[in-house]
């Protein structure tokens, strides 16, 4: 088969633009990026379908000129999945905005906490040495103590990431970058 350069270049540009966008932090841009890549993939499916351009419906075009129906069926599902994905990510963006007053994907607090443990050469909380109180009541006290310590740490990391405290509605991201 002979490749079609126009479509290949179009596809490449769409992929490039999509990748550029998905490496962003804003959920809206990430979604736009994913959908651009999805459109690029649509062109990929057109390309690999081959040169035939007959409609794959019996009776509408001769069988030896029909375009390959299998990529079409696969991509038809992909299109509708894309719609479901769009709805879901938009709802996610809306929810993030409701909570944080922006739609950005922040670094994961749990991951940050593990990085801190690694820096301090500490074990994780799943490691339970045999020492320490065995009595169940004392043990539960200890657990709640750890919980509050972890919560305080999470709060601190959140402050670092967002520049504000949890449940503080102040919006620090209003500044707009000019093009």
């Amino acid at each position: 088969m002979s490749p079609n350069l126009t479509l290949i270049i179009t596809m490449g540009v769409l992929f490039a633009a999509g990748v550029y966008l998905i490496l962003e932090r804003s959920l809206t841009r990430i979604l736009v990026g994913i959908l651009l890549m999805s459109n690029a993939t649509a062109i990929l499916f057109i390309l690999i379908s081959g040169p035939n351009r007959g409609v794959p419906i019996i009776g509408m075009s001769p069988e030896d000129q029909m375009s390959d129906p299998l990529p079409q069926a696969m991509f038809l599902t992909a299109i509708v999945i894309g719609l479901g994905l769009t709805g879901f990510v938009l709802a996610l963006a809306h929810r993030t905005w409701q909570l944080n007053r922006n739609d950005e994907v922040q670094d994961d607090i749990e991951d940050r906490r593990i990085i801190r443990l690694a820096q301090r050469d500490k074990e994780s909380s799943t490691y339970e040495p045999d020492e320490g109180p065995d009595d169940s009541h004392e043990a539960s006290d200890e657990v709640s103590d750890t919980d509050s310590r972890q919560a305080a740490e999470a709060e601190e990391i959140y402050l670092q990431l967002h520049g504000r405290r949890i449940n503080d509605p102040k919006d620090p991201d209003e500044e707009v970058d000019s093009e």
Partner: protein
């Protein structure tokens, strides 16, 4: 044999219900269950004693040569009797150990019986994989049972420790099993044992299997998990940690001993581990003041002893080991149960505080004394019989100048002394001890029946002892098989498991051991001082914790180094891998220099250039809506390409989806700032651009090379024929969706349901299926989408007058129109909506039914309904949407999924295969000849799911957001009002 396991498993499943209604008394009923396999095994005793071997074989996964194979021979028979007999007693005992207020009793009952079933499976299995399966099941249930008291940290730790150690061993064993199975070419245990394979690989396999056995039976160096496991409720200790689970390792050694005892690592490994274990156990037991811990270390010591005799490799020693196993199962579970009673009666297990039990609970005390005598191997208990046979079998090895029989004998002898000493310490401490006067406890006698199991088993030990006046014939079948397997069928086994051998050296040594033990007990204070002086420098427990800590630290370091928590970083990693590996291969590809075309029609460069410009502009855009609109341009471009490349279905769907997506975007972005904030990633922009461009180039190159390299015909060449003949449709794409690849579509609509549910749950803060409010349900006027001050009063006035004029004519175009704020109403829009809505619905139904033969299908049809609903919503607001389809979206999704699944299952009844189509011809009045393909029902399911998705998103991102914004009273400048269009943003 399978039936026995199934019966117990079923009982485990109904146990929680029984406990729920009967409380702890359910255990009395459940105790009958293990008796069923017990009686079954007894009924087969004649056959077994005559040397018969019963087998059962049910093929399971034939391609893997994996079958449910069971075998009942002499060894398995004894194990079944122990597991089920003591199991029944323990379940019975649970009734007295627990109270109705005990927590988690329902699950406990289920786990305990499930454990019985797994243990039966373990000893009956005649297939290595099946054995492993049951082996791991016992581990899992043991974990659940040890951790029964999940609120206690020590209990959780103990459960985890037992799980870690036995699972690690189990995995090693599994590898060993696989090697054995592959080397022999069969997974059947009896076949492998008969084959007696040898070689260095087999040696490795045996070593791995032994690791599994040692860890399961708490032998050195894995012995440390057993004392911790005493955190379990006492019935669990009595059963799992005395009679059943810890015997699994010993059982495996006993099972393999006939065939593998002369593998060079067998004897040293087992005997050394056994000697160390038995000495450590005995030594530690003497240190304990907690009765249960004393028994736990005693168990370790005894397990070591049993292992030694199966390690020796002679039939006499193995038989003695089996006798020890029986004796131990009887006396140790008896003693554990007595400790449970004492614990309940006094609230303590500390020998320094216990006293006066003898008077309070004589039955229990008698049972304890008898069992302890058996433990210390005093004539005439069965413990004594077994010990005599054991001593004798070792002494028989002295002749052949090797040193190890003598060393082993010394270890066994010392162990016997220690055993006698801690047996005395146990009885004395529990029943009369006055050593430490510290706060003696008050005894509240327990019901007689709770003491019965202890007494019964204590007595049974003596009965077995007297039974052995004649040789203990129940061990003969195992002995015969042992000789058979060693190829010594001619050799006659002489059963030495007899109560009385006469006054010989062995008996004298037994007496000496008892006397020395008594002396040690008598001098216990001095001995305690000696023990205190010799403290251990390192403990196995410490090493275990060191390893666990090391693993945890390693995991933290690796996770910390790789999981940076940043989404762009993760994505970049994936993308760079794609660039580097396929990219490198790409450059080296020989397919670069074939023919190519610039384009196939002049339309392509035209559309392509527009798409390229739009994509670049979308990536550069700082405004949300502009980016989305430009994305839409590329989407419509794709639709055009589809239309001109022979894909009408795709073009239709793409146009519909693109339109609907745009509206979704507008809905959701009403509340987001108009511009993207640019704060966090300004510096990395160049890097992102680089990754993007190189990735795009890689994809382009891969596509180019792949297409140039392609020579084969597509697999879909025959689809046209199948589609018509089998699928009954002319539209091949549709037939693929609803028939040929219906499973894909099934997965996809499941995803759509999940996505729709996700959208609703993210947007609806309280609940999704709130009452659907239609315009006629409203009380008082509504002002949906009111704009307050943005319209001048005069404009508003004229709009209101116009509306009133049209309403006066007595005809309402859309009922919901009246709920909008006056300045938001558009009579023309309402009229058009009224006129086209039903047409669109009919069109969608046409697409749905025609889709099998013409462009269309469930997806496109559902999307058309979505667009129709969207128009109603935009023209008349959220109450109009409710008016248009006053059904809960979740219900539509559910019904759609149900119809789709139902059509697949119905096809299975019809044709034997899921989603297989059936073509039905019949005549209907008016319609005439009708050809119905059953996959239409599947497509109807797809249709409903898409409609449900659309409605759900409209209700969430549309209507619910309206309500939230009204509640918050915000409709400020930077949000985009619905209906103002998209193109005005630039």
């Amino acid at each position: 044999m399978l039936a026995q396991i199934v019966i117990v498993t079923v009982a485990a499943l109904i146990a929680p219900t029984l406990v729920r209604f009967l409380g702890r008394r359910a255990f009395l009923l459940l105790a009958i269950v293990p008796l069923i396999p017990f009686i079954w095994a007894l009924s087969l005793s004649d056959e077994i004693l005559e040397g018969e071997i019963l087998q059962q074989n049910i093929p399971w996964i034939e391609s893997l040569d994996f079958s449910i194979a069971f075998e009942l021979d002499g060894l398995a028979w004894i194990m079944v009797l122990i597991v089920s007999g003591i199991g029944a007693l323990v379940v019975f005992y649970c009734n007295y150990y627990f109270t109705d207020a005990s927590r988690g009793l329902r699950s406990f009952a289920a786990y305990l019986l499930a454990f019985v079933a797994s243990m039966l499976g373990l000893v009956l299995a005649n297939d290595l994989l099946l054995l492993f399966l049951f082996w791991e099941l016992t581990t899992v249930f043991s974990y659940l049972l040890i951790g029964h008291n999940a609120e206690s940290k020590s209990s959780r730790r103990a459960a985890m420790k037992a799980l870690m150690v036995t699972t690690a061993g189990g995995l090693a064993m599994f590898v060993g099993f696989l090697i054995l199975g592959v080397q022999v070419g069969s997974m059947e245990i009896s076949v492998i044992l008969d084959a007696e394979p040898r070689g260095s690989l087999i040696t490795v396999a045996i070593a791995l299997v032994l690791i599994g056995a040692l860890s399961k039976s708490a032998l050195f160096p894995f012995h440390f998990w057993l004392p911790s496991a005493m955190a379990a409720p006492t019935p669990v200790s009595a059963y799992l940690h005395a009679a059943a689970m810890v015997k699994a390792g010993i059982y495996l050694i006993a099972r393999f001993a006939p065939a593998f005892a002369d593998v060079e690592i067998w004897r040293p490994t087992i005997i050394i581990a056994g000697c160390i274990t038995t000495l450590i156990g005995g030594w530690q037991a003497l240190k304990q003041t907690d009765l249960k811990l004393m028994l736990a270390y005693g168990t370790i010591s005894q397990l070591g002893l049993m292992a030694i005799f199966f390690g020796v490799g002679t039939v006499e020693a193995a038989v003695a080991g089996l006798a020890l196993l029986i004796a131990h199962a009887v006396f140790k579970s008896s003693l554990f149960m007595s400790v449970g009673v004492i614990d309940r009666a006094t609230g303590t297990r500390d020998i320094r505080r216990l006293h006066g039990l003898w008077n309070a609970m004589p039955l229990l005390s008698i049972g304890m004394v008898l069992s302890a005598l058996s433990m210390a191997a005093v004539i005439p208990t069965f413990g004594f019989v077994a010990k005599e046979a054991a001593f004798g079998s070792l002494a028989a090895e002295w002749g052949n100048s090797a040193l190890w029989p003598i060393l082993t004998f010394v270890a066994v002898f010392v162990s016997a002394v220690l055993t006698a000493a801690y047996a005395l310490r146990f009885v004395y401490g529990a029943l009369s001890g006055s050593d430490g006067a510290a706060s003696p406890v008050r005894v509240r006698p327990r019901p007689l029946l709770s003491q019965a199991p202890t007494a019964f088993l204590g007595l049974f030990g003596v009965v077995l002892g007297f039974w052995s006046i004649k040789p203990f014939i129940f061990l003969d079948p195992y002995a015969d098989e042992f000789l058979d397997q060693q190829g010594n069928a001619a050799a006659q086994f002489h059963n030495e498991v007899i109560l009385w051998h006469g006054f010989n050296l062995i008996f004298t040594l037994s007496l000496v051991a008892l006397v020395l033990g008594a002396v040690m007990f008598w001098q216990r204070k001095r001995f305690a001082k000696l023990q205190a002086m010799l403290h251990q420098p390192i403990s196995a427990d410490g090493i275990y914790h060191g390893i666990m800590r090391g693993i945890d630290r390693f995991a933290v370091e690796v996770t910390g180094a790789t999981q940076r928590g940043s989404l762009p970083l993760y994505l970049s990693t994936i993308l760079i891998v794609v660039i580097v590996i396929p990219g490198t291969l790409l450059i080296l590809s020989p397919n670069w220099f074939g023919n190519f075309v610039w384009f196939e029609s002049p339309l392509q460069p035209f559309v392509g250039v527009i798409m390229i410009i739009a994509a670049i502009a979308a990536a550069r855009s700082r405004r949300r809506l502009r980016a989305v609109a430009l994305l839409g341009v590329t989407g419509y471009g794709v639709a055009i390409l589809f239309a001109f490349n022979g894909a009408p279905d795709l073009a239709l769907t793409q146009v519909l989806v693109e339109t609907v997506s745009l509206v979704f975007f507008v809905f959701a972005m009403r509340r987001l700032p108009t511009h993207f904030s640019n704060r966090p990633l300004r510096r990395s922009r160049f890097l992102r651009l680089l990754v993007g461009v190189v990735f795009g180039a890689t994809m382009a190159g891969v596509t180019y090379v792949a297409i140039s390299a392609r020579t084969a015909n597509p697999i879909s060449d025959d689809f046209a024929k199948w589609a018509y003949e089998v699928g009954g449709g002319k539209n091949i794409v549709n037939v693929i969706l609803v028939d040929i690849r219906a499973w894909d579509t099934m997965g996809e609509i499941s995803f759509l349901v999940a996505a729709a549910t996700g959208v609703a749950s993210l947007v609806f803060i309280k609940r999704r299926n709130a009452r659907i409010v239609r315009p006629t349900d409203l009380e008082g006027p509504k002002q949906v989408w009111g704009l307050d001050d943005t319209m001048t009063l005069s404009v508003r006035q004229s709009v209101v007058e116009g509306n009133e004029a049209s309403d006066r004519e007595g005809f309402t175009w859309l009922r919901g129109g009246a709920t909008l704020a006056p300045e938001r109403r558009s009579i023309i829009f309402e009229v058009v909506t009224r006129l086209i809505f039903h047409t669109m619905i009919i069109f969608s139904i046409y697409l749905l039914f025609a889709g099998h033969n013409r462009p269309g299908g469930g997806f496109a049809a559902g999307l058309v309904v979505g667009v129709a609903l969207l128009v109603r919503y935009l023209a008349g607001g959220r109450y109009e949407l409710a008016e248009a389809l006053p059904i809960d979206a979740g219900r539509i999704l559910g019904i759609g999924l149900m119809i789709a699944v139902g059509s697949g299952i119905a096809a299975m009844f019809y044709t034997g295969t899921m989603f297989q189509s059936e073509i039905i011809h019949f005549t209907w009045p008016v319609f005439g000849e009708v050809k119905l393909v059953t996959s239409l029902f599947f497509d109807i399911g797809v249709y409903l799911v898409v409609v449900g998705l659309m409605l759900d998103v409209l209700r969430s991102l549309g209507a619910e957001l309206d309500i939230q914004m009204e509640d918050e009273g915000e409709d400020s400048g930077d949000s985009v009002p619905v209906g103002s269009g998209v193109s005005s943003e630039s």
